[in-house]
């Protein structure tokens, strides 16, 4: 560790009002080439806000995870690659999204699709990564698929705690967050349970959590990876919560009917557009 760099980091952390940092026990901190193990805690809108309300009990740290390039490749997470021509599509998406969000002063975006196979999780991940490369943006990616959360799988991360724990066990968010080694990107993963999760969705605890996320991370862009629309109503419940919704459509698989039904279901949400995925 470079002491110099360390000092700078500490200074920055103080400037940004972080509470403290210690390496997470049990985290997979490996030799990272040039990755700063700085913790990304919740940035505040007003710099002084959270100073005034420190969490007295927990010392939260955002878990750092180094991503495996091979598994990223295998899982088609390409947004981080700079030399791949295919990334251009995501960049284009990012630009569109940013324009729309900024124009309307929106900060949260829900990603869903008619069916499971559309690749919305991958899209959400790649979009989040892409967005985070934009220097002025910080991105929080929330996995809201309570039945089969797959964001962490896509990134090749193991999780012990997930969103569900925040609701059921009252786990503080900070303990669940993960920094997947990409600057300005934080992940709130999900943990698979075998339980039936539909009641949880409408529970007050969930609503509280959502509003908490919304308020605490207001300056970030929050991307919600939702379950598919036509599988059950889980997604329907969320979509009105987000500022905007994008519908991912699978080229060659989703029918016109699917899309139309989805659009109908999203009539209460603010659907800003579609993404045609897996285009051939």
């Amino acid at each position: 560790m470079n002491r110099f760099e360390d000092a700078i980091a500490r200074a920055r952390a103080e400037r940004e009002g972080r509470i403290g940092q210690t390496p997470n026990l049990g985290s997979t901190t490996q030799h990272d080439e040039g990755k700063n193990p700085r913790a990304e805690a919740q940035p505040r809108e007003a710099p002084g806000e959270l100073d005034a309300i420190p969490n007295p009990v927990h010392y939260t740290i955002t878990r750092q995870v180094k991503l495996n390039p091979e598994s990223l490749d295998r899982n088609r997470v390409i947004a981080g690659k700079h030399d791949d021509a295919r990334v251009e599509a995501y960049r284009h998406l990012r630009t569109q999204v940013l324009q729309t969000l900024n124009k309307n002063n929106w900060s949260s975006l829900a990603i869903t699709s008619p069916h499971e196979t559309a690749g919305k999780t991958l899209t959400a991940v790649n979009l989040a990564i892409s967005l985070s490369h934009e220097v002025n943006q910080t991105v929080l990616l929330v996995d809201l698929d309570l039945r089969k959360p797959s964001v962490h799988e896509t990134l090749g991360i193991e999780v012990q705690k997930g969103l569900i724990d925040c609701i059921e066990s009252d786990e503080p968010i900070e303990n669940v967050l993960i920094n997947p080694g990409v600057q300005r990107l934080v992940l709130l993963p999900g943990r698979a349970t075998g339980e039936d999760s539909s009641e949880l969705l409408t529970s007050p605890a969930m609503m509280n959590l959502l509003s908490e996320i919304g308020s605490r991370y207001r300056s970030r862009i929050i991307i919600f990876d939702l379950p598919s629309l036509l599988r059950n109503d889980d997604a329907l419940v969320f979509t009105p919560q987000a500022d905007a919704t994008l519908l991912v459509v699978e080229d060659g698989a989703d029918t016109i009917d699917d899309v139309e039904k989805s659009m109908h279901l999203l009539s209460n949400a603010n659907m800003i557009g579609t993404i045609l995925n897996k285009a051939r």
Partner: protein
Amino acid sequence: MNTTAIEIEENTKSFEDYAKVLKRRLPEFFIPFAAIAIVVILAALLWPATYESTATILIQEQEIPREFVQSTLTGFAAQQVQVIRQRILTVESINKIADKFSLYRLNDGNKPPDTEVALRFRQNVSVDLVSADVIDPRSGRPTEATIAFKLGYQSVDPNISQRVANELVTLFLDENQRLRTKRAANTTNFLDAESTALNQELIDLEGQLARFKEANEGNLPELYQFNLSTLERNSREVTDIGVRIKELAKRETELSAQISQLSPTAAVLLPNGEAVLGDVDRLKILRSEFRSKSSIYRSNHPDLVRLNREIAELEASAGVVETQKDLLREIATLEGRRTDLARKFATSNPRIASTTSQIEVLKSRIAGGDFADSETRIADNPAYVFIDTQLMANVSERKVLEQKQKDLQQRIETLERQISRAPEVEKQYQALVRQLTGKEVEYSGLIAKQGEAERSENLEQEQRGEQYLLIEPPALPFRPSSPNRKAIVVLGLLFAFAFGIGFVALREMLDASIHGDKELTAVVGVLPFAVIPYIENGEDVARRAAIYRKGLVIVAIGSVALLLLVHVYIRPLDVVWSMLINRLTGS
């Protein structure tokens, strides 16, 4: 909602879209295409060639123009050809040909059933008419006339096709000749029989007519007027005669009255006016005087002698004048006298005996007929004679006229009867005459036809009628007539292509999913935020490569296997190669 989306989608398709579809569904196009293409090519290569040998037969116009001899075989040439074709292609005759050339034998050398052989043979025979546009010489209108026909047979063996075609030509020509001669003869025979029958009918009718005429002799229509006028004449005549008879009757009465006043014998008047008795009366007086005196005197009394002498003289000139009545009267008188005498005298008295002998003489005269007729008195009174003559003439005339009247009356009745029946008779007569005339016309027509038929028969027999002439004998075909391999390949490939495209189109139509941003835009209404291509990972790439490799291997192995199969089971490959070259460049 669905339909509008589809409509928009259809309206905005461009060539690139179609190209994209094809690219996407390339395997779905290629496999059907390849399958059909292979089948087609194999078919084109392996289809066995058939060769056809064709002969051309000209239908020649008859040599002698139709106006002179109308051939009895009027009938369109086309019909003729078809008729002969039917006669030749009977099951029996086909099988004869098939046996002769060993056609359609199965692999084991047996032949299929007769009907099947016939069926297949007929399919291999072609009879095509050749027509030309001509002007019909009789009506001046342009028509199509059949001037020739082509007769062909196809087979896989060119030699067979030529030989069978030759056989067919021979059969055709022979049959044609036979038919024409026979038909011409048949016509003649038919007409002969007809004319004989008709002749008989004519004879019958004529007989009928003759009998009718006989039966209605006076009543034939042509006599009608005559009968009428005759009737009229006769009626008039009858009337005339009646009048005349009346006249005569009147005259007769007059004459009778006159004659009753007269005596037949004229009293001769002396110049001093005294009447002298006629000879007849004198004779009568003398005789009666003699008789009365002879009863008194003896026969030698001079008075008696004198009387005898005078009687004899008068009798010599006047003849026998006493009628039977006179004699009977005399006999009665004499018998009275005798009776008187018998009362007075004894029977031996000579006067009784002489009276008795006189009675006997008179009786024998009666018995012998020696007396004069009461009527035929010799009248010598001229007036009496004159009137008597007139009377007699009158009477006879009257009698004659009466008879004539009767005859005429009868004749009138006959005529009237006839006349009343005349219309009926006329009807029947006319009917008979009509029948007869009709039959006569028929007969004369028939005679004419007979003449034609006989001449036509001669024409045929002398081979100058419509003839079939072989102008092109069947040649040995060196090029197959079918199949057209190039055409098969070209068309087949086109079809395979179309089929592939069709299959793709079908699949595309059935595919309800969204393809491409255009379709998505059509549904959503706005362009998508982004179009993310399919991201391949290492596995995908590897898999694609694997499929590609596998595909190549399969094609290679498959080709080798196919060639091997062809080489072993169909034909050796070098033969196939040369066949290919030949077929594709030659056929």
